[in-house]
Amino acid sequence: MSTLLTADMIRKWAPVLVLIGLVLLFTTINPHFFSLRNFARITISSTPALMVAVGVTFVILMGSIDLSMEGTIAVCAVLFALILNIFGGSISGIGWLAIPGALLAGAFLGAVNGIVHVQLKIPSFMASLSLGFIGIGLSLLITGGNRILIDDPVFRSLLTFRIMGFPLMVYAALLCLMVAWFIQDDTVIGRNFYAVGGGEDLARASGLNVGRLRIIGFTLAGIFYALGAIFAVARLGIAETETGRNFMFTSITSVVVGGTALRGGSGGVWSTLVGVLIVNVIGNGMVVTGLPDYFQDGVLGILVIFAVYLSTDRRSLSFIK
């Protein structure tokens, strides 16, 4: 049993080891990589991705999948900017209403997603993919294809104001991560996510309302996408349809690389944090070490396969009856 346990430990900590290995590798190639300023840069680019990945983590924990994030982010980002600009253009005034506004929009889109998936019994893969397209269309409709600029210095202080070398948005994202952790570990909803992902029939036989739980999960994911959208706008000062671009691939990659199994029931938001950092360390490290950009996608691809291999291998390891 002891050897099995250590094998378990290795699997559990594999993503962290990968992260440490990558940091060491890039540091060896270019010592500048290992600096506070660079870590700040990595965390800045990780912040919106982390929120989105945490959102989809909840959905994946339930054994479903959500591909609507790009559309949801686009809508939330654009609505956020629109509301902010309508209400005076500053967070310090009544423009702060833009924050709950964006979160509500995210929750709404997530809920619609969940309801379509559960009530119409459409596989989450299809339902969310379609709703993602609808989201993109909606944001185009709102902006007419244009960009909305945010120049509010108070809001942009999320990026410009630094504490101990890291901008405010990093701390804000950590706070959100703590909330996600709390939801995951200390609430009935979080526990039920694991139960549904671990065995839907069991959850049903234990008297859980699985359909309602799914809808809650998608809604929660939508709220975190909205947070991701707000951070993305804070980072660039621009809200547009393109704001959501690339988030689908990077967030799901991060979740899987972090060690949350796509079949549901195992993993969590901390794994996702590690996954997001891995993906962003690679992105940053490739530029820092000056490797050609086409390697970047290749390495990321290999890494995903590696991670999925790690997370699906565990069943065959316990073959002693």
Binding site: I44, L141, G144, G145, G283, D293
Partner: protein
């Protein structure tokens, strides 16, 4: 929220138009082939005007269509009489849409089009010519395809050469750097022609600035967020050695500016390309040193105008010189000196163009490499 209403109305209208077209296209295919004629037709009275292009999600194509609209309105027609054929980046869709349009209206079409990719230009042009309609194209055309080989029906082709203007922005940048120090380049999708040309322009300029070092070239795929991350990476890799940034597009420059803002780095010289309204604004504020304005508004209007006036017989393309059939579009360098003036003239409002002055802003005949 009236803009939403307008947009919806326009979309619904286009949709209906297109559905009708497709439906008619199926039935009308046989008819069109029966009517097919190779001979150039006499002037058409009132041709339908159409624009075939990529999508509405980016400011560039938005400006192109706005120009097309302006031209249509100058004829006294309502702006929704301009038929939008959106190919969504698919050459197949582009060709199929144009064919349905032709089978609906036959020779009664004046078409402006970006054929999406170079090989698609020939089938599009051939379809239009065999229907006896008129077409003007922009951007994508193979080098062996020429308007003058098609009589009057292939009216013109306009493209933009980015090498020269990009070299100009590089010179502005190098001068601002005092002629020495390290520079980084953020490029578009590596296989895109404009990305290649804009990098070439930078390299050309480097020849006359021996003390400028090109530190790195990295593709950021025309994407703001990616450019932001790439710039952060450059800052780690080169630190203070980076003295200037050459961006292949405005959208990437925004990401660069924000990456610098996050680090509280001020006054870094940056140049970009495309002349988007936001970028021109940034030039006026001094946050960008220069960008290149390609005037898509005028391009969109004049391409439609060329097809329209050829179709209505206002001019006969085959009697025009070759530089009126194939030419470069306008490329104006916008710098901090003239940005404000430029902004009020071209960005805040669109000047009233004389759409009958067909070649007033062109920049000479297209030069092929070999």
């Amino acid at each position: 929220m009236s803009f939403i209403k307008n947009y919806l109305e326009r979309q619904i209208c286009e949709r209906r138009q297109f559905l009708l077209l497709s439906a008619y296209g199926l039935g009308g295919m046989a008819v069109s082939s029966a009517l097919k004629t190779k001979t150039a037709r006499a002037a058409v009275q009132n041709p339908k005007i159409a624009w075939s292009y990529r999508d509405r999600t980016n400011p560039y194509w938005n400006s192109i269509v706005a120009g097309g609209d302006a031209f249509v309105r100058s004829l006294g027609r309502p702006s929704d009489s301009l038929i939008n054929l959106i190919n969504e980046g698919s050459s197949e869709k582009s060709l199929a849409d144009i064919k349905s349009l032709l089978s609906r209206y036959g020779s009664q079409v004046a078409l402006a089009a970006d054929p999406n990719d170079m090989p698609n230009c020939r089938p599009v042009v051939e379809a239009v010519c065999s229907a006896g309609a008129y077409i003007s194209t922009i951007w994508n055309k193979t080098d062996d395809l020429h308007p003058w080989d098609f009589g009057d029906n292939y009216v013109s082709h306009m493209t933009w050469s980015d090498v020269g203007p990009s070299e100009q922005t590089a010179r502005v940048l190098f001068d601002a750097m005092g002629g020495k120090g390290g520079v980084v380049h953020l490029g578009g999708i590596a296989s895109n022609n404009p990305a290649i040309e804009r990098l070439q322009g930078l390299k050309n300029a480097l020849k006359s600035y021996p003390n400028i070092e090109l530190l790195a070239v990295q593709a950021a795929d025309w994407d703001t967020q990616k450019a932001n991350q790439v710039m952060s990476g450059f800052l780690t890799r080169y630190g203070d050695a980076v003295k200037g940034v050459h961006c292949a597009s405005d959208t990437m420059a925004y990401g660069v500016i924000e990456a610098l803002r996050a680090e509280a780095i001020e006054g870094m010289p940056i140049v970009s390309y495309d002349g988007n309204p936001q970028a021109v604004g940034l030039v006026a504020q001094g946050k960008l040193l220069a960008t290149v304005f390609t005037n898509p508004y005028w391009g969109g209007g004049i391409t439609a105008a060329l097809a329209y006036y050829a179709a209505t017989g206002v001019f006969k393309p085959s009697s025009e010189p070759k530089e009126h059939r194939e030419f470069y579009g306008p490329a104006t360098l916008v710098t901090t000196k003239d940005a404000s003036e430029f902004k009020s003239k071209y960005i805040d409002s669109n000047p009233e163009y004389d759409w009958k002055s067909l070649w007033s802003f062109t920049s000479g005949p297209i030069k092929y490499k070999s």
